[in-house]
């Protein structure tokens, strides 16, 4: 009798200890950015549990590899990241520290969402740190072109179906629903931005290339002289002249930059500084991938001047 009690007590105790590492019915997905999380949630629905490491109002270049992230990643079945060295400063340390064999490079739980994305601004020739904080494989902010949403969604769908083939049919339904909705929204966004085609803007950091490419805006120059390097007075003067000559009156920047330099430029050009969310969650209203563009386009529409069509 005593033996049984002892054994059952021991097994309950052992179970408690193992309880934390049981994987439940849903697939556990960890993404780096909130945009990947938003799209993953659309495809996975209630069948997955998604966690984004970076909040939308944080600069993904300056994230610290906090051990608390390792805990989330240790329990994850799938890691999704934007790639193109956006997360190179911190993701490798996190992958190692998470001690999770499934999410490492080459394993099934590892997804680089940049695969299949048509990349902009891939440096021709040698890339060097003397050029500032450049990304040697291209501009990594590709989520800001909503057409790339289709490619990201497809990659995530392929991976989820591979890991959880039992639910592939449901993922397909979710994917089709997402594609349909994104197609409609892109049509709306394009028609709204139609009258601004060819409009020139200045951006603080070279963040918006995919957006301006899609909606046919032109980035005249950046307030930053080189990526990650604060501008000199000389550069600001040159920029102000350029803006005045071209009658460019709008400076856009992400929420996580201070607006000191943008304000200086705007003051000399009778311009406006527009702070925009660069990721889902960049502002509280940009709560998913669709809302992100709703907000950006709404804000731009308030400030841009209509251009004559090309």
């Amino acid at each position: 009798m005593r033996n049984y009690k002892f054994i059952s007590f021991f097994s309950v105790w052992a179970l408690l200890f193992l309880g934390a590492s049981f994987s439940w019915a849903e697939l556990k997905v960890v993404t780096t950015t909130s945009d990947l999380a938003s799209i993953a949630k659309e495809i996975g629905g209630s069948l997955i549990k998604v966690d984004a490491l970076v909040k939308g109002f944080q600069d993904p270049h300056y994230i610290q590899p906090k051990p608390s992230f390792m805990v989330k990643m240790n329990r994850a079945d799938l890691l999704i990241y934007q790639g193109l060295e956006l997360e190179i400063g911190w993701l490798p340390t996190l992958i190692d520290g998470s001690r999770n064999p499934t999410i490492r490079l080459g394993q099934t739980g590892h997804l680089d969402a940049s695969i299949g994305i048509p990349k902009l601004e891939v440096p021709a020739g040698e890339a060097d740190r003397s050029m500032g904080d450049i990304h040697p494989y291209g501009n990594p902010h590709y989520h800001l072109d909503p057409e790339n949403g289709f490619i990201i969604a497809q990659s995530i769908f392929n991976k989820l179906s591979e890991l959880d083939s039992a639910n592939a049919a449901q993922y397909q339904i979710n994917l089709d629903h997402f594609r349909k909705r994104l197609k409609e929204k892109i049509k709306q966004w394009k028609s709204r931005m139609d009258k601004y085609r060819g409009a020139q803007v200045v951006s603080y950091h070279n963040l918006w290339s995919y957006f301006t490419n899609r909606f046919e805006l032109i980035v005249l120059d950046t307030v930053e002289e080189k990526p990650g390097v604060p501008p000199t007075t000389k550069h600001l003067a040159k920029l102000t002249n350029k803006m005045n000559r071209g009658k460019v009156k709008l400076v856009v920047q992400a929420t996580y930059y201070k607006s000191e330099f943008s304000n200086r430029v705007a003051a000399k050009t009778e311009g406006t500084v527009l702070t925009l969310p660069a990721f889902v969650g960049g502002t509280p209203e940009a709560k998913d991938y669709f809302a992100l563009f709703d907000i950006i386009i709404a804000e731009l529409s308030k400030t841009l001047q209509p251009t004559s069509l090309r």
Binding site: L18, S68, N74, T93, R99, Y256
Partner: protein, 377 residues
């Protein structure tokens, strides 16, 4: 027949969606085709490595750290045995090489060159995962005793070591050949447990006479995220080993090293690049035929994107016995950090000790080039 086919094709074209595409969509596709053709061209030249055996694709990532230092010391100008007297020197050059060995092992080497001659292998590590949540590490490495001991020279928060580390662990720190494993505990907060078997060579604390006089480390480390902005890290470490003293009736030749560390870090939400506040405190004690103990506490404040101001206090004592000692040092530092890869730091030290007090001014250029792994949090 031919004209019918042509007619059919024409009707298909007329009614096909392609004809409804706007001009810009054609241009877009044209651009994409051009990019693809270019990529294909660049990647299609065959490599010669099959025949020559010479390939660089799998070479390790390589990075270099340069630490250039100018020191002024108010004492010991003519004392050539003094390692921190007034001089201009290459404090250290570090070469770091990392690569995946194969599907289960990764290699990580650090070569340290102090001054301009003599390459030392500071770390030579092979590491990997035993299974989920269990990692292993083997080779020569900076032992995870407390927080500061794990840092390479270029990553020191100040230009020099705190007094307590220098005195108790030595200038090289606790740097041992060993094998260890680390377990990520199944808790909601980050918690790990590390156990290592070390060769026990450290001349300050170990270096027992028998080859089998290994040292043993356990460390438990926790990190709590209070909110998006603040984290608290608390760790405890203990190392046991034999030392080189001949045991007698009044004492044995065992060393017990114990350490506790507490680190609080803060960064404002949405403005992480512009401000940081770090407060770190460590207690270190060595219990053997004599007791050595001490601590340091430091505050680091990034007050602008490129500027840091820091302060540190470190104390060290041998409270009893014939070697009684009492030393402490106050340090203040200002750093200009134009990028994550370079910094110029100016530090002032005031060392209070039984022999003459020392005032030091140090100016350091500290930079990294190449593909360097990210530092631990």
């Amino acid at each position: 027949m031919k004209s019918r086919t042509l007619y059919a094709l024409f009707m298909i074209f007329l009614f096909s969606p392609i004809s409804a595409w706007p001009a810009s969509q054609f241009e877009e596709l044209e651009k994409r085709i051009q990019t693809l053709e270019q990529e294909k061209k660049e990647n299609s030249a065959p490599s010669s490595s099959t025949a020559t055996g010479i390939s660089r694709r799998f070479n390790p990532a390589i990075s270099l750290n340069g630490l250039f230092l100018g020191t002024y010391n108010s004492q010991g100008d003519y004392d050539s045995a003094k390692d921190d007297r007034t001089e201009l020197e290459i404090q250290e050059v570090e070469v770091r090489l990392t690569a995946y060995v194969d599907h289960w092992l990764r290699g990580d080497f650090t070569l340290a060159i102090e001054g301009t001659s003599g390459i030392e292998v500071e770390e030579a590590i092979a590491e990997g995962l035993i299974t989920q949540s269990f990692s292993f590490k083997v080779g020569k490495f900076l032992v995870p005793f407390g927080k500061h001991n794990q840092l390479h020279t270029h990553a020191y928060p100040f230009i020099d070591l705190p007094v307590v580390s220098k005195e108790i662990l030595g200038e090289e720190g606790l740097n041992e050949v060993g094998i260890g494993m680390s377990w990520l505990l199944p808790t909601d907060w980050y918690s790990d447990f590390t156990f290592q078997v070390l060769d026990g060579d450290n001349t300050n604390q170990f270096n027992g006479p028998a080859g089998s006089d290994f040292a043993y480390l356990i460390r438990q480390n926790n990190l709590w995220e209070l909110n998006d902005e603040t984290t608290i890290n608390f760790g405890a470490s203990y190392v046991y080993g034999k030392n080189s003293l001949a045991p007698s009736n009044s004492f044995d030749n065992e060393t017990h090293l114990a350490g506790g560390d507490l680190t609080v870090k803060w960064k404002p939400a949405g403005r992480e690049a512009y401000k940081t506040l770090i407060w770190q405190t460590e207690f270190i004690a060595s219990f053997r035929e004599q007791t050595q103990e001490g601590w340091y506490t430091m505050l680091q404040h990034q007050f602008a994107k490129e500027w840091w101001v820091q302060g540190r206090y470190s104390g060290y004592t041998i409270p009893h016995g014939s070697n009684q000692e009492d030393k402490n040092q106050w340090s203040a530092l200002l750093a200009w950090t134009p990028s994550e890869f370079s910094t110029i730091r100016l530090q002032y030290n005031r060392l209070n000790q039984a022999t003459a007090d020392e005032h030091q001014v140090l100016l350091q250029l500290n930079f990294t080039m190449g593909s360097h792994p990210a530092h631990k949090y």
